[in-house]
Symmetry: C2
Subunit: 359 residues, 2 copies
DNA sequence: CACTCTTCCGGGAACGTTCCCGGAATGAAG
DNA sequence: CTTCATTCCGGGAACGTTCCCGGAAGAGTG
């Protein structure tokens, strides 16, 4: 069974069948312009009979916009990004836009390609969560070409024309660390994707708009510790690659090599999985011996024992804010780009307690 | 600071600057056709200098295809769909396609709108996970219009021109139930989004291509019970709306009203969250008193205690298969639509055990 | 009846690209 | 020197829609 010839019916077919010109048919169908009620409904009827569907490509050709927004993210199976994507989709749909999404799997090469391709597809605006690469030429070029651009989660250096939406990572870390300090912890470990450079860590904390989330979260930890008069020991920051298995190994290592650590702050949602499992397997009781605080709220956080305390990003808000900012930039190209740092919130459960807690 | 005039540079600008005709410039840039090496590189250099970016809309206008596939799903923050989406994206990207995705939030109205909009945007093919609505007119019309169409996860009745990719839900349930029966369970409850119609449940199991996953999973449960000579009691099937809180309530109710149930089969990933929490809060020990088997593997399944036994869909495979089938249908419109039912697999952990298990 | 104003409609350009086709220039072969 | 094939290039149509503009028909006013 073969499909019928897909000779699609155009507006001139409709016009011909309705006995009018294509201009009149166009006016009748779009609703704009002056058409008599009679011909309008006649054209509408004929169009329905023929199964006419307007060609959006041709429309975009002449109107100059595609009613489409591009989104470029590293991984859409990641909980944070998929949730953000969902709220972006909902927001822009309410304004009549569609979503062209591209996943870069963390590859700078793929990111360049994606941005390039979406730009040639003439999206009206672009939301990008750039992978931490030094080369941001493609983004700068895009912004300069006049395409509306919003950076999500991760800033990119030297991009002037773009807004930036993210959680306030410094404050998020402060929230987590102060919570632990308030419980009486002094030796607080951290699982981080960023590397700790002891030399430059003291006061030379990088400006918050040019660094990756992991770096900022580590910096926030360092600051909060310093503000409380606690010294940050290099052996307390455990570096981990971006996977739960790497995080598992890093956490096990931290627990073994630095047994005086009574609390661990895990700075990412995928790392939290490995960290929790590692603490479970270590034989150290949580929270009596070691407290754990994770990053981002998970559906499983209240399911595990002990229930996991976390510092959570306002994921929905981040998506909505990014989408709204982009829509505003599309509507008004002269609009000044904005930087929106949204507050994190602490969700206290059972995995954090005082270090001398009896049980 | 206002953006520069976004007068984008076209191919005639490039041609003019290079001193050639737009035809020659076009040949030089696309690589097709005969151009001397000299002019080819001259055009390329001028294009790079001017920052020329081809207009994909205009290209689609004349080539007739957009190198874009649409995906319509109920919810992209749902783990199953986001994982499928990720593998779809990867597969089609390797063939030079982009992804236009639309989330319907389970609303039939939004689904109609999405399919309609993506069709006017002239996607080359469409992957749809239809919400269980009786009205599939928009899909049938699409398939008849010649657009390549693949149905994902949920079939739609009377759609002839579309392939269908899904897990084999009947077999998945059989896997789960047989596992429990093999452990010695006789009174097995089920948490299902589908309603149990005792009258028609006996042998009149609906054909596997016209029903929703929840219905099929319930049917598989019924069959497996019958095959083992066990009677299915209406009070053993607990209906739940599609949310973890509803599932929590349904599970609590099931445990209270039907205490002789020694095992529970939960037929969906979001329902599994509520079911696990409910069993935890019920005071009944798992697996000693009550076994639980969930649907789909979660990152938290090995994290909770007891570790959750599940029957898992091959989510990646489902996405890849759907994408590959769609690409094949795009490449060859005369291709026969196929039905691919992929096998589920059982992942045995600690939440299932013999009912008389000592502990 | 002449004139103006309103309402409605058709013709044609335009968007930026690809594709077809004919022609000019160049080289080789007679 | 002529002929022919080959290589390269330019002109123009086409895709399907929207938009601008001018004209025809009808209604109202003097």
């Amino acid at each position: 069974m073969t499909r019928p010839a897909q000779q699609s019916v155009t507006i001139v077919d409709v016009a011909k069948a309705a006995g009018v010109s294509k201009s009149t048919a166009g006016r009748a169908l779009t609703g704009a312009g002056e058409v008599s009620a009679r011909t309008r409904e006649k054209v509408a009827r004929v169009a329905a009979e023929l199964g006419y569907r307007p060609n959006g490509v041709a429309r975009s050709m002449i109107t100059g916009n595609t009613e489409t927004v591009g989104v470029v993210i590293p991984d859409m199976s990641n909980r944070f990004f998929s949730a953000a994507l969902q709220s972006i989709a909902r927001t822009i749909r309410q304004h009549g836009y569609e979503l062209l999404v591209s996943s870069t799997e963390g590859e700078p090469t793929l990111e360049r390609r994606s941005v390039e391709v979406l730009a040639t597809k003439r999206v009206d605006g672009l939301i990008v969560a750039p992978v931490g690469g030094a080369d941001t030429h493609h983004l700068r070029q895009l912004a300069e070409s006049g395409t509306a651009l919003v950076l999500l989660d991760r800033p990119a250096p030297k991009i002037t024309g773009a807004s930036f939406v993210s959680v306030n990572n410094i404050e998020a870390s402060r929230l987590a660390v102060n919570h632990l300090i308030g419980l009486g912890h002094r030796h607080i470990g951290i699982i981080s994707e960023a590397r700790y450079d002891a030399a430059s860590a003291g006061d030379a904390v990088p400006a918050p708009t040019v660094d990756r989330p992991s770096t900022l979260r580590l910096a926030g930890y360092v600051r909060a510790m310093a503000d409380a008069g606690l010294t940050v020991r290099p052996e307390h920051v455990a570096h981990s690659a971006y996977s739960s298995t790497a995080s598992y190994a890093a956490t096990r290592r931290l627990l073994q090599t630095t047994p005086r650590v009574t609390a661990i702050y895990c700075t990412d949602n995928v790392l939290s999985v490995g960290a929790f499992a590692a603490l479970q397997d270590s034989g150290r009781r949580c929270p009596q011996e070691v407290s754990l605080i994770g990053f981002d709220d998970h559906e499983w956080a209240p399911l595990v024992r002990p229930r996991l305390t976390v510092v959570a990003q306002p994921t929905e808000d981040i998506g909505v804010t990014a989408a709204e900012d982009l829509l505003a930039a599309i509507a008004d190209p002269t609009r000044e780009p904005a930087t929106r740092l949204l507050p994190a919130r602490l969700i206290t459960r059972d995995s954090t307690a005082s270090p001398d807690h009896p049980g």
